[in-house]
């Protein structure tokens, strides 16, 4: 194919993969104009349990990418921050990865690897904070029977640009559950992608995003059912408030001819809380075999349900509190899946304050 030529061409915005993204606001990550900063900001927080290591190493990428930014990262950074969980290790407590200070006048090109050995079990939380320009190539490998819950929190400050691919490679019978939360930053573009390399794997990609005035958040999924008997579920929920808040959700699911017994369903719901905001939602299901368990998608975008607000207010709850309850309820389905109270409460209060700030 055209891997060698087009992957390095500067996107113009006419390409399918870039047609929604405000290229001018990417601070030169897409066209190579960004000054390369000399920093590696990813750290592991707290003491690592036995069987867990976090090291900087030279590693070859696991999977090819057709994304120009991912390929630029790979050219610029041979070093990979590698979180590794040894085979048969069950890590009880969540492993936290956090950021030291970034910068806006230069870009960080970051490569990250999270690998789980056979039959290992872990929860990993990636906390993205501060103001920064960050391009990230994050690869996850789950060996046979491994199970990972991966929580990525985009709680950036208001000027940040984050362009990343979070790519998971799923081996036999492995289970991957990711929860992507995007509530901060100027431009956030994440490609949560999944590749099944052996049968029996199961993934659940969950996400919430809340964009207010001027923010652009894009989540562009791709799930490649390249083997039989794998299962995937996608459920992303977003809210938008304020002028020029813009979100994009793309759900590409490919069921290849060999992928008999595939079971997939993807869902995206958006709540428009004010005028002047725009939510793009594009599910894409490509099916090359009919021998599947199920394949479906749904996408809805709507406003506050007046009947819900009326019901709550008829019980004495003020309009503001009724809206807050409805928005919290809307996000609760996903946020409650995080399973870590501190984070759930933090995200919910962030959502409350975004809502208040937007005056929606």
């Amino acid at each position: 194919m055209s891997l060698l030529t087009t992957n390095y061409l500067t996107p113009t915005g006419r390409e399918e993969a870039w047609r929604f993204t405000p290229l001018k606001r990417l601070r030169g990550l897409h066209d190579g104009q960004a000054v390369t900063g000399d920093r590696t900001t990813l750290n592991s927080l707290g003491t690592l349990a036995s069987g867990v290591t976090f090291l900087r190493e030279h590693l070859e990428p696991i999977a090819a990418s057709d994304d120009v930014i991912v390929n630029r990262i790979r050219n610029l950074s041979p070093d990979v921050a590698h979180l590794s969980i040894a085979a048969n290790t069950h890590v009880d407590k969540a492993i936290f990865l956090g950021r030291s200070a970034g910068a806006l006048d230069s870009a960080e090109y970051s490569r990250v690897r999270i690998s789980l050995g056979v039959h290992s079990v872990a929860t990993v939380v990636l906390e993205n904070t501060g103001d920064t320009v960050l391009a990230e190539d994050l690869e996850i490998y789950l060996a046979t029977g491994a199970s990972l819950k991966f929580i990525s929190l985009q709680e950036f400050d208001s000027q940040s640009v984050y362009a990343a691919r979070h790519h998971a490679v799923i081996d036999k019978d492995a289970e991957f559950k990711s929860i992507t939360v995007t509530v901060g930053g100027d431009v956030v573009r994440i490609l949560p992608t999944v590749e099944f390399i052996a049968p029996g794997g199961s993934v659940e990609l969950l996400g919430v995003y809340f964009a207010t005035t001027g923010q652009f958040f894009e989540h562009r999924m791709h799930i490649d059912h390249a083997v039989p008997k794998a299962k995937s579920r996608v459920n992303f929920k977003g809210a938008l408030a304020g002028r020029d808040a813009h979100t994009v959700w793309i759900g590409d699911v490919l069921i290849r001819a060999v992928a008999e017994g595939t079971d997939t369903y993807e869902l995206n719901r958006n709540l428009l809380l004010s005028d002047g905001a725009r939510a793009d939602s594009v599910p894409n299901l490509e099916i090359e075999t009919g021998e599947i368990v199920g394949a479906g998608h749904a996408s809805t975008t709507g406003r506050f349900d007046d009947e819900q607000l009326f019901y709550l207010m008829s019980r004495g709850i003020t309009l503001d509190n009724a809206r807050r309850l409805v928005v919290r309820g809307f996000f609760n389905e996903i946020v409650s899946e995080i399973g870590i109270d501190d984070i759930q409460n933090r995200i919910m209060s962030r959502i409350d304050s975004e809502l208040e700030r937007a005056g929606a």
């Binding site: 019901y311 709550l312 008829s314 019980r315």
Partner: protein
């Protein structure tokens, strides 16, 4: 002692084909402790009366007044009406995804009582209210009205009636879709609320069967957007025997 006075109420609703007049001069006075049954055929405007008093945005008040203890109800927002002491048990209670019954009830009780109920007594209060209505404790953790059966929705409405302690309650076809046992349980809940809070009740219904459990002091026949006949409990028996035909043709 509270009094809700509805005077010469005219209400219209906006449809695709323009504004349609539904209520055409309703007069009704409800006092604490009284039970008024409003009966009438489908489409006569009974539910419109209920929703207009509660302040549903779909309805436009064209004329008349609704006064609760001297205060102008029509000038109040929906939540203010509830705080003033009005309650509407809905015919079709609305689902609120992601909001648990217990969170919803506590938020509502906090709003209506002006402060958060003390956790210890509140938990007991909710538990007792649920037991009295034969509801499974798991109910409290479910999302508001989501996946509830018709009967569960009505019990949940009456549970709110008991917990939120309004002065005047309008029950919009609370009996519809209930089997005999559920009807009895729900009616007992209404009677408890009447006794403990001296509640005034407006009971909107098609059928007389709920009136066997909740005895009305007054029966009003509603047709074509207004009250066309009034009487005591015996009027319900007459309606049971003769139907609404006499009133509809008028």
């Amino acid at each position: 002692m509270s009094t809700l006075e509805i005077r010469n109420l005219y209400v219209s609703v906006n449809t695709e084909n323009g504004s349609v007049d539904i209520l055409k001069g309703v007069d009704l006075t409800i006092k604490s402790g009284e039970t008024h049954a409003i009966m009438g055929p489908n489409g006569s405007g009974k539910s419109t009366l209920a929703y207009s008093i509660a302040g549903h945005p779909k309805y436009t008040i064209v004329g008349g007044s609704v006064i609760l203890d001297g205060a102008d109800v029509l000038a109040m927002s929906v939540d203010e009406r509830a705080k003033a002491g009005l309650f509407l048990a809905m015919q079709y209670p609305v689902e609120v995804p992601g909001v648990s019954v217990s969170n919803f009830l506590r938020t509502a009780a906090t709003a209506l009582r002006g402060e958060a109920p003390k956790l210890r007594t509140w938990v007991g209060e909710v538990k007792a209210a649920m037991e009295a209505l034969n509801m499974d404790p798991i109910f409290a953790s479910r999302n508001v009205n989501e996946g509830f059966s018709g009967g569960e929705k009505k019990r949940h409405e009456i549970m709110q009636l008991e917990l939120l302690r309004p002065k005047i309650a309008i029950l919009d076809e609370t009996d519809s879709g209930l089997d005999v046992d559920a009807l009895r349980i729900v009616s007992e809940g209404v009677n408890r609320a009447k006794e403990s809070n001296n509640l005034g009740v407006v009971l909107i219904t098609h059928y007389t069967r709920i009136l066997k459990y909740i005895r009305p002091d007054f029966v009003h026949v509603f047709a074509n957007g207004r009250i066309v006949e009034e009487g005591g409990a015996d009027l319900a028996d007459k309606l049971e025997a003769h139907g609404y035909a006499d009133y509809v043709s008028k």
